[in-house]
């Protein structure tokens, strides 16, 4: 099985009339889910933007403490992962199982790299006393309560995003594990595509997080 193309398709579940209907339902369902997720995040973005409009000074003070370079690197990492994910989808369509698996693993490792960098950034935040919610640790910008709201918002947004990414990586690994079976693409090719939507979405969220939190008022 050296990279030879395998047949690609969908096994139609009992309650669907045909593969098209099933694919349509799966993709549409994922879009709706992502729409609710987007609403979830936009509430938090709104808080950040309101704070920015009302207390520009506070935002500047916080932005100076955020690790711009880690954020930027992470943006690049995620964009790369979206590329490898797209490649995986493309290869799955062609039935190149090996290549697809490789791309999926590459995507997962980029995701993990992101999480590792993010973890390091959190640790730096902790060291720099940028954790106002830890009562036992004095907070550097304690004079200004608007900064606190923004920092907290930062932690909630990035934490929630990290949670999504962690889920994404786990699901991706699980999917790769199942997809290692040769018959996978014949029956469940659409799962790769649907998952791809989710992955791009996580990427997209980060691409909004980065300017809203790191770039503005720097």
């Amino acid at each position: 099985m050296s990279g030879a193309a395998v047949p690609v398709g969908i096994e139609v579940a009992e309650h669907f009339q045909d593969a098209n209907q099933q694919r349509h339902a799966a993709v549409f369902g994922m879009w709706l889910w992502l729409a609710t997720e987007l609403l979830l995040f936009s509430g938090l973005f709104l808080v950040a933007i309101v704070v920015r409009v009302m207390y520009p000074d506070a935002v500047t003070a916080v932005a100076l403490h955020l690790k711009f370079w880690i954020g930027a690197t992470n943006t690049a990492v995620l964009i790369c992962s979206s590329l490898t994910m797209s490649a995986a989808i493309e290869l799955s369509r062609l039935g190149w199982r090996r290549g697809m698996l490789a791309c999926m693993l590459a995507t997962a490792s980029l995701g993990t790299l992101f999480l590792a960098l993010k973890g390091y950034e959190y640790w730096r935040d902790y060291v720099e006393h940028m954790t106002p919610f830890f009562g036992f640790r004095p907070y550097v910008l304690s004079g200004d309560r608007a900064t606190q709201l923004l920092v907290d918002d930062y932690f909630i947004i990035t934490g929630l995003h990290g949670l999504h990414l962690t889920t994404g990586v786990s699901v991706l690994l699980g999917l790769a594990w199942i997809a290692r079976r040769p018959s996978f693409l014949r029956h469940h090719q659409h799962r790769v595509e649907v998952f791809g939507l989710y992955w791009h979405f996580i990427d997209l969220i980060w691409i909004s997080v980065f300017p809203i939190l790191y770039l503005l008022n720097r």
């Binding site: 309650h15 609710t36 609403l39 907290d152």
Partner: protein
């Protein structure tokens, strides 16, 4: 069979079934086959059992609230106990009974059948949604009963984040999690309606019930994430002293109200739209007449689901919000009444020149319209700024929402339950008892909640454990009404269970009604349709009435 047959025969002789043994109820019998089922009908039944349980819990709390209010000096329960009781009542009734009631039971059972599908689009997700619901609701229930939450169902900050009991944290988690169950159900319904309709089932051939389910699902999808975020922020403030709402640590005290009502006002339409859907099925069936103004009613559902996002501020007229904002929210609330008015008038017109059979579902449906109208009009009173300044947070509001939620939606639920009971179970309920229950509920309901309008206008604030003595007589009246109402609810619980074994077997279409669900056996076979139906008829296609005098 006529009611008299039922009365004559021995009530305790089990009746045999008509349905073939391979229907969805009898295909498998193990507990496992229920708990791991992917069948939307079985999941609907699971929800039916769960929400009945939660209704009973909420009703016991309501009973105890009414018990306490018999005396003005609050000597029956302590102040904290009383506060916990109405919080349990509100939280359980809203999140664990009313919001999931019609969508998750009737919706699950009927929506796929009504559009000619074999299943919902994602059966496993559907089961997952039930499990999420059960875990979240039992967790919350344990929390509010054992621990005790004293914030009311609205969780207003900064009270909820500072002074209330610490048990509020698990309750918030429960409410967040149950939101995901709603989202998953809504998602499933929207995808099902979009992709699974049978050939020929165009949008304007769908029954209104499906339209309202669709509109409800849209609200689930759009509004629930806002609640999730709000509750998450509340948790952060409570747990980690992150100042969002509490001014003492840098937050804004009215921000919470904005965020909460941005979800919770649309949520009240989540509660009312499905009821309207049920009534739009029942009235044409028992009038044997096509639903008047079908398209307008369909559009009205979508209009409600849209405009509902623009009126949240009417809960906040007296919190110092700017005058112009208040005026804008007031007029939007008048606008949102228009689609409701359309529906009410159309139901009335549907009865004109019908051939009306006053069976239990129809009696409930007519009761629904009457009570909903009273609740709706008093909602407009509240939207009138000059009036709301006076009656905000009084029993007037309590009466308003009980008229809509209990007099409206819960009664629509009962109407639907009786209407589709033959379809769900393959058995007829005993007709005379249904009529008796409807009368008890109708009388008890008005006796309970009408006095509360007067109390509210007199100025009795809600969530009051002790009240001035001049309010006592009306309160006692209300408590007496609640007892009658409680008895009224008890009847269906008993006779419906009784009918499972002793009721007459139901034919496929006992009401001579239209709609795909009546074309298949009662109870339906496992996969609904042996062959996918071809739809070439309009909804509510009740033919000429002249012959049917």
């Amino acid at each position: 069979m006529s009611p008299s047959d039922t009365a004559l025969r021995d009530p305790l002789t089990p009746r045999p079934t008509l349905g073939r043994p391979d229907d969805y109820l009898h295909s498998e019998h193990t507990l496992r086959s229920w708990l791991l089922t992917h069948d939307h009908k079985r999941i609907g039944i699971l929800y039916l059992l769960s929400i009945t349980f939660f209704f009973i819990i909420g009703a016991i709390a309501a009973g105890l609230v009414r018990l306490s209010l018999i005396v003005p000096n609050g000597m029956i329960f302590s102040n904290d106990t009383y506060n916990r009781l109405f919080s349990i009542h509100g939280i359980v009734m809203v999140w664990f009974f009313l919001i999931p009631s019609i969508p998750n039971t009737f919706g699950n059972f009927l929506l796929p059948i009504m559009i000619g599908a074999k299943e919902v689009a994602f059966p496993r997700l559907n089961l997952l949604s039930w499990y999420i619901f059960m875990v979240a609701s039992l967790f919350t229930l344990a929390d509010v009963v054992i621990g005790g939450v004293d914030t009311g169902w609205t969780f207003y900050a900064p009270f909820s984040t500072t002074f209330s009991s610490a048990w509020v944290v698990p309750a918030l988690i429960g409410v967040i999690v149950v939101g995901f169950s709603s989202i998953l159900t809504g998602l499933n319904f929207v995808v099902t309606v979009h992709t699974m309709r049978a050939p020929g089932m165009t949008w304007f051939r769908m029954p209104i019930f499906v339209w309202t389910m669709y509109a409800t699902s849209l609200i689930f999808l759009l509004a629930t994430p806002v609640l999730t975020i709000t509750m998450l922020l509340l948790l952060m403030e409570r747990g980690f002293h992150i100042g969002v709402f509490n001014p003492a640590i840098g937050g804004d005290p009215v921000l919470f109200q904005h965020m909460f009502w941005f979800y919770s006002h649309p949520a009240v339409y989540i509660m009312v739209l499905p009821g309207m859907g049920v009534i739009s099925e029942v009235v044409p069936a028992f009038a044997q007449r096509r639903l008047f103004g079908y398209r307008f009613v369909a559009y009205a559902s979508i209009a409600l689901a849209t405009v509902t996002f623009l009126v949240w501020g009417h809960h906040m007229f007296v919190n110092g919000m700017s005058e112009y904002a208040s005026i804008a929210f007031s007029i939007m609330s008048f606008v949102v009444a228009v689609p409701s008015a359309v529906k009410v008038y159309n139901w009335t017109a549907t009865m004109y020149k019908g051939a009306i059979k006053l069976r239990t579902p129809m009696i409930f449906a007519m009761g629904y319209v009457g009570l909903f109208v009273v609740g709706g009009i008093t909602g407009l009173y509240l939207a009138t700024l000059g009036v709301d300044e006076h009656v905000h947070d009084t029993y007037f509001v309590v009466a308003h929402f009980h008229y809509i939620m209990v007099g409206g939606t819960s009664i629509a639920f009962l109407a639907g339950l009786h209407y589709w009971w033959p379809k769900f179970t393959g058995r007829m309920y005993p007709e005379p008892w249904g009529v008796v229950a409807a009368l008890f509920i109708f009388i008890g309901f008005n006796a309970t909640f009408f006095p509360q309008f007067i109390l509210g206008y007199l100025g009795m604030p809600r969530r009051y454990h002790e009240y001035p003595p001049e309010f006592q007589i009306l309160n006692v009246l209300s408590s007496v009404g609640a007892t009658i109402l409680g008895a009224g609810y008890l009847f269906p619980m008993i006779y419906l269970v009784w009918s499972l074994r002793f009721g007459d077997p139901a034919p496929a279409n006992p009401w001579d009604a239209k709609g795909l669900e009546w074309t298949i056996a009662s109870p339906p076979p496992e996969h609904n349709f042996a062959r996918v139906p071809q739809v070439d008829f309009e909804p509510y296609d009740y033919s000429e009435r002249e012959q049917r005098t």
